[in-house]
Symmetry: C2
Subunit: 342 residues, 2 copies
């Protein structure tokens, strides 16, 4: 390991994920020599909390990355496309939260509990997967290792925070206005999200699936390093603020009992099993907010196929689904000596 600590740029620092990144860096005592928040000109000059201090957000410019070693991006695809290569050119390792590089075969797509070795071949940019995929693969990788997963049928219950701070505000505003008998407007979502379920996340593609659904299909294969895993998804936005829940049905090659699954998951990194039906205990969105782990419960045999398991997977989409996973990637890079500190 280098004796000097890296200097870290946080791009998109005023967004929901950016703020959480700063919080996670602080909470985990990330060994940075300095952390500097960046944003577009619109939010530049505002302050964001970090440790006992407040940091003044700087405007992101083409020459912003001089002297930095790590750049954590969470500012949308077009910002990443434009600025990530500039950061790499300036000597940074970029860990990018957008969709821009995820399916680029030259860019590793990494969840540290699942495929840390893919970091070895990073070309300067490392992609952070989509939130709904991260929690799924953390829960399924240990099962795949043990029993080989053939097929996954997943239906999601996704929180509005996945869309960002504006969506959090939209749910809040719609609920308040409805309870006061006022008309509501939907700016962020195509339809009302308050007291509703929207079976659409991101745009529709030619094949009738949404982009979010196909992200789950394609990213799962890439992260697990196994193109033979079949996955079909229905992704749904629900009126929940934080944490995505997922109803997951899997078919494995080898037989696993419920007890096998519980044991495998209980000792898996980044997973906490909460599965006590007799006590009415299972993972729930409201309990997992602010937590690091992926929580799994309602594990039961699906007797409609030979080797079937149903489970319920919940995680904080802003933490493990975004900010925490990004910081964990940075930590793994440092531990593996894959960051050059200038």
């Amino acid at each position: 390991m280098s004796t000097k600590n890296p200097r870290v740029a946080v791009v998109g620092a005023t967004g929901a994920v950016g703020r959480e990144m700063l919080k996670v860096l602080e909470q985990r005592n990330f060994p940075a020599s300095e952390v500097v928040p960046f944003s577009s000109i619109r939010s530049a000059g505002t302050k964001v909390p970090y440790k006992d201090d407040e940091l003044i957000v700087r405007e992101l410019k083409e020459d912003s990355f001089e002297g930095f070693d790590i750049a954590l991006f969470s500012a949308g695809g077009s910002t990443s496309e434009k600025f990530a290569p500039l950061a790499v050119k300036a000597g940074c390792v970029v860990i990018d939260n957008s969709n821009a590089w995820r399916m680029d075969p030259k860019v590793p797509l990494v969840v540290p509990e699942v495929n840390p070795d893919d970091l070895d071949w990073h070309p300067g940019i490392i992609a952070n997967p989509n939130c709904s995929t991260i929690q799924l693969v953390v829960a399924l990788k240990p099962i795949h290792d043990e029993a080989k997963i053939k097929r996954i049928v997943v239906s999601t219950y996704q929180a509005v925070s996945g869309t960002g701070q504006k969506a959090i505000n939209e749910l809040e505003t719609q609920v308040t206005r409805l309870f006061n008998g006022k008309e509501i407007v939907s700016d962020v979502y195509p339809h009302q999200i308050a007291f509703n379920c929207l079976p659409q996340i991101d745009i529709f593609l030619e094949n009738g699936y949404t982009k979010e659904e196909m992200k789950m299909v394609n990213e799962t294969k890439k992260i697990m390093g196994d193109d033979s895993i079949k996955l079909t998804a229905t992704t749904v936005r629900v009126p929940v603020f934080y944490c995505h829940s997922e109803s997951v049905n899997i078919e494995t090659v080898e037989k696993l009992t419920v007890r096998d699954c519980r044991n495998i998951l209980a000792s898996a990194p980044g997973v906490t099993v909460i599965d006590y039906p007799e006590k009415g205990q299972y993972p729930m969105a409201i309990d997992c907010a602010g937590e690091d782990d992926v929580f799994v419960g309602r594990i039961r045999e699906d007797e409609t196929i030979e080797n079937g398991i149903n489970m319920w997977v919940v995680s904080d989409n802003i933490r493990k689904g975004a900010a925490l996973n990004t910081v964990q990637i940075a930590e793994t890079l440092i531990a593996r000596n894959l960051v050059r500190v200038a």
Copy 2:
């Protein structure tokens, strides 16, 4: 058909489903000589709206059913167990919304669009299926007829109204209190429902599934009249007031394209297809409240298996899922001359 109109008792008339039954009887101009609401002593004496009038709710007693021809029950399992046989003895046909008789092999479990012929062998009692099952079989029966369904994987997004008026109040109160920074209590549900997803509906059974999940498994087979249909369910309560949504994955024996499915469903009784991804249109809970039909959209091929289809099914759980289906059963009985009018 009889020339005289039947006299109808509505048991549990002050509950969410009972009130909707009165509304449905009125809206459909149900040919009743008289409609009389009954309830437990606690609500007896209160008034319920019916046509341009208000009806005074009578206390349900052992001899209440004298002179009635049809009794619509929606007052919970124990009331049905005690009073339905008395109603039958008094000459009524009972259509029961509770779980008491659904799996009794001597009692038909009927959705008029799916298995009206099962009414022919009714022994005085006819069971109305569980709400989450009704909308599923209305959507799947026409597909089963065409392509034979082998396996169903369903995850539900169920509204609080399915639990009754108290649960509607609980969601409302919890949301209001949370927005005012106050502590909340959960009386109706085991955990907070506001801004949360509860992967538990009804109690847990020995096999780790909930009673609601096993209702879907068993009732689907009975209504479809086909024990070979395999179904596995994850039933989830979401913070939505009205209408259940379902993410449904099916495997069929014969190949169906998306267009086939749309065509079959578009001409199926009681089904409306809303499936225009290019316009961002699909069924949603907020749009289906107060509607009679089962709405299907997001129909797409599941390419992880040879003959797979995904779809999104939404219906008003209080209407088609309960009150409307009950009244439709009564209408079908009359049309088939299966009610003796005293």
